[in-house]
């Protein structure tokens, strides 16, 4: 199970500390998805070797308008393993689900954002994962939290109906905001989300990372075709 994190300068902890904490909480990996205007520099291999946690390089493209985001998506696609788009407005949500270069639409229900059957069908078609962000359930209270839970329920009902892909995250911005997989499953249970459903969402990060690494590796040519061991360099 993987967790999508924001590291310093986006958050308050370094990638190494987040990876160390992830190992202590029982995660297999972290996806570093800093926003594109505050990226973090780190040596993923060194951190993986030290703490035994897979560190996936990701990015969350944040933009005011789709035109602006479109350029960023093109720029970062080939250099990062997981590309997410900062959702939360209807324009950006729509942009993300209609773009097959995008892996994850982060927090689509945040702010003024909303999701309907059209967007979920587009996400299914383009393989864009919709994120279930449990951060506000864990860290907010009162009316805001009620509205977050309402929006998560709406999202889950539509995603469930169409069988669209999704990821689950507690969205930690420091090592203190991590919560373990069993805690997230227990929380899901209270929200009417089955524990298996939460687990699938946490696993999805890993499958996404493995798929993209394969696609981006040198031996990959196109789906079903890759350079075999008999190929001779000429």
């Amino acid at each position: 199970m993987y967790e999508g994190v924001h590291a310093r300068p986006d958050g308050e902890s370094t990638v190494a500390r987040l990876a160390k904490t992830a190992a202590e909480y029982g995660f297999d990996g972290v996806v570093v998805r800093n926003h594109d205007d505050s990226r973090s520099e780190f040596d993923a291999d060194e951190i993986t070797a030290e703490y035994g946690v897979d560190v996936v390089e990701g990015i969350e493209v944040r933009a005011d308008a789709p035109e602006q985001a479109s350029g960023s998506v093109g720029n970062y696609r080939s250099s990062t393993t997981i590309l997410a788009v900062h959702g939360g407005t209807n324009a950006m949500n729509r942009f993300a689900v209609e773009n097959e270069k995008v892996d994850v639409l982060a927090h689509p229900m945040a702010g003024s954002g909303d999701i309907n059957h059209v967007l979920v069908k587009a996400a299914l078609k383009n393989g864009v994962r919709l994120e279930f962000n449990l951060g506000d359930v864990l860290r907010e209270s009162g009316g805001r939290r009620v509205r977050t839970i309402q929006s998560l329920r709406k999202l889950r009902e539509i995603v469930d109906y169409y069988g669209a892909p999704y990821v689950v995250s507690a969205d930690p911005r420091s090592h203190l905001e991590f919560r373990g997989p069993r805690e997230l499953r227990a929380l899901g249970d209270q929200l009417g989300i089955s524990p298996e459903w939460i687990e699938t969402g946490l696993e999805e990060w890993k499958e996404l990372a493995e798929r993209n690494r394969e696609i981006q590796s040198d031996s990959f040519i196109e789906p079903g075709v890759k350079r075999g061991r008999y190929e001779e360099e000429s």
Binding site: S13, T14, L18, I47, L176, R179, E183, A186, L187
Partner: protein, 159 residues
């Protein structure tokens, strides 16, 4: 009042949990108990939190880390776990909480899951992002003091 016969007494489970915060956090048992009950009430409602009980029976916090044992009614451990996960900050200090394990007795919970004492944290001067800083660290972790906040780092970030 005469105590209940054994088969009528409620059965308890004890959650052993580890706490973590910044080095300057001061959290006492009363504050933690208050936040736990609030979290239980907010997430589980009055009936749910009454069922779960959620009393703090052991609590120890100092130098930014702590451990606690929480009494929960048998069969309510998962809802207690969820409530515990929703504690975000205590007296203004952000906290990380991790359930280490669940036992049938307080003693087993402490011995099995909270046994080892961590190293005593040490302060040292480090260079972080090209500036000289003070770091408080233990077991390979380092909390670096900036002008107005802390940064969570590890020995890997410090050269």
């Amino acid at each position: 009042m005469k105590h209940l016969p054994k088969h009528l007494r409620p059965r308890w489970r004890y959650l052993a949990a580890e706490l973590e915060s910044w080095p300057d956090a001061a959290i006492d048992r009363r504050a933690f108990q208050r936040e736990l009950w609030y979290a239980g009430q907010n997430l589980l409602g009055d009936p749910g939190s009454a069922d779960a009980d959620l009393s703090v029976v052991r609590f120890d916090f100092g130098d930014g880390t702590g451990k606690t044992v929480i009494k929960v009614r048998h069969g309510e451990t998962e809802s207690a776990r969820a409530a515990l996960a929703c504690i975000d900050r205590i007296d203004g200090s952000p906290v990380g909480i991790r359930v280490a394990g669940i036992s049938g007795t307080i003693r087993a919970a402490e011995e099995k899951f909270l046994g080892k004492r961590g190293q005593v944290p040490s302060e040292r001067n480090v260079v972080f992002e090209n500036a000289e800083r003070v770091a408080v660290g233990r077991n390979g972790s380092a909390d670096i003091r900036l002008d107005d906040a802390f940064v969570g780092a590890t020995d890997l970030d410090l050269v």
